[in-house]
Symmetry: C2
Subunit: 264 residues, 2 copies
């Protein structure tokens, strides 16, 4: 039996929710977590509201996931409220973290800029947090555990998030023992409406265990159907997963061709 | 006092959560709803799991928002489960909608394709639903009310979603009486770290009511700070909102220039 590592992502910020930016952080984290071996169950974007964020984090924590990652809301402005909301959800205090403060001071020292309240604010973290260094920007990230769940908070600026992810977060997550347990493949077929492929997919799924198949309509269902078909095979033994994936792909292609499909 | 219309968006699909696609539907709906006058509080993406989707919809409905929009999961495949989950959340049955069935039949009739179970599936909707026609694809959308909340379910294929939004949903929402009650502006400033702008913003906000200001760091906080500054002013009287927005912009620019900022 494959152990399932359940993860949630919170991409926080009014600009995300109101559509002023496209949420590329969600795609980045969803993909990285999936490739690492996590089963990402959901992504939640919320406006910069302490109560709302705190309530939603509590709600998701009550399902005891293995991992919860937040992005955004770590900066120096009045509406950067993620860690305040997180502390509230965890029912712990927000404490000045000396290590975080030192790293912030060092950065502003370069330009001889003083430690103002806005800059010091970025060093306040939920009690029990470990600092995640930010080598690209100034706001440090933080990591805190609550029972079964590891909670990781990162900035919303994509190049800061991505650098911290690759340098610090991924190595840490690998230490937990999570690892990829699936093979994935995809191909395109034209000439078959999704509603016809649906039956083919169902039949293939009946024959295999631990296989996930998803059809993505790219053309027009009636006049010019094009489908991208994505196959994922779960198996602790990755080479067995690859082998099954090949078989599933062959079967899908054969059945789709038999009903008029052209594999592209 | 301005009436606040609260909205939530659910963008459903495993491919969104696992980062295989970038969630442009969320940005589209967030922006369209905001411009219409809604205060979008959150966007939730979930994997194609009936229980999970149903639970989350129930949770959000318990806060009695004015509007909940879902995208995705209306198609003919086994993992298109949005309407089943919605019916479950609303504690009503899933019923064959004759109007929806007729529109689906007409479309497949063009190619003399029969009404298979997979195609008929797309006509099952929560009891009490009204059909939203899909002029671009085949899966119809649906609209259902639950106490204070209007719930609208649309397909996940962006060009279907967008066409239905513009032709049917927006006109319907305008009928409710929602209207835009804000002016918005933005500008860029270089040479001021976000942590310095934070103080300026706080001071301006202290002087004005119903003003929202957000700073977006685009450069590097210490070595090359560039900020995009976004200002939103809420007022039932739109020309008054525009006037205040101009004043706020002038004040922000003046203060930022006085601490070394260059407006670009």
């Amino acid at each position: 039996m494959v152990r399932v590592w359940r993860a949630w992502v919170f991409t926080l910020g009014t600009e995300v929710v109101s559509g002023r930016v496209v949420n590329t952080n969600a795609a980045y984290l969803g993909r990285r977590l999936t490739l690492l071996g996590f089963n990402v169950l959901g992504v939640v974007s919320l406006i910069d509201d302490v109560e709302l964020i705190s309530e939603f984090i509590s709600y998701v924590l009550s399902s005891k996931p293995d991992l919860l990652v937040t992005t955004g809301g770590l900066g120096p402005t009045y509406d950067d409220v993620t860690l305040e909301a997180l502390a509230k959800a965890l029912r712990v205090g927000l404490r000045l973290n000396e290590e975080a403060l030192r790293s912030i001071k060092e950065k502003y020292d370069v330009l001889k800029l003083p430690l103002t309240p806005e800059r010091i604010k970025m060093a306040y973290m939920p009690e029990g947090s470990e600092v995640i260094p930010n080598d690209v920007g100034t706001a440090p990230g933080c990591m805190v555990r609550r029972e079964e769940t590891l909670i990781i908070s990162l900035p919303g600026v994509p190049r800061e998030l991505e650098s911290m992810w690759e340098s610090y977060v991924e190595p840490k997550l690998r230490e937990l023992g999570v690892r990829r347990v699936f093979a994935e493949r995809s191909f395109k077929v034209s000439g078959v409406p999704e509603s016809s492929a649906a039956k083919v997919v169902k039949e293939v799924l009946r024959k295999y265990e631990n296989v996930y198949i998803k059809t993505h309509p790219k053309g027009h269902e009636i006049s010019a159907p094009i489908l991208e078909i994505y196959v994922q095979v779960f198996n602790d033994d990755l080479s067995a997963a690859e082998e099954t994936a090949s078989k599933v792909l062959e079967e899908l292609k054969k059945s789709l061709v038999s009903i008029g499909g052209v594999i592209t």
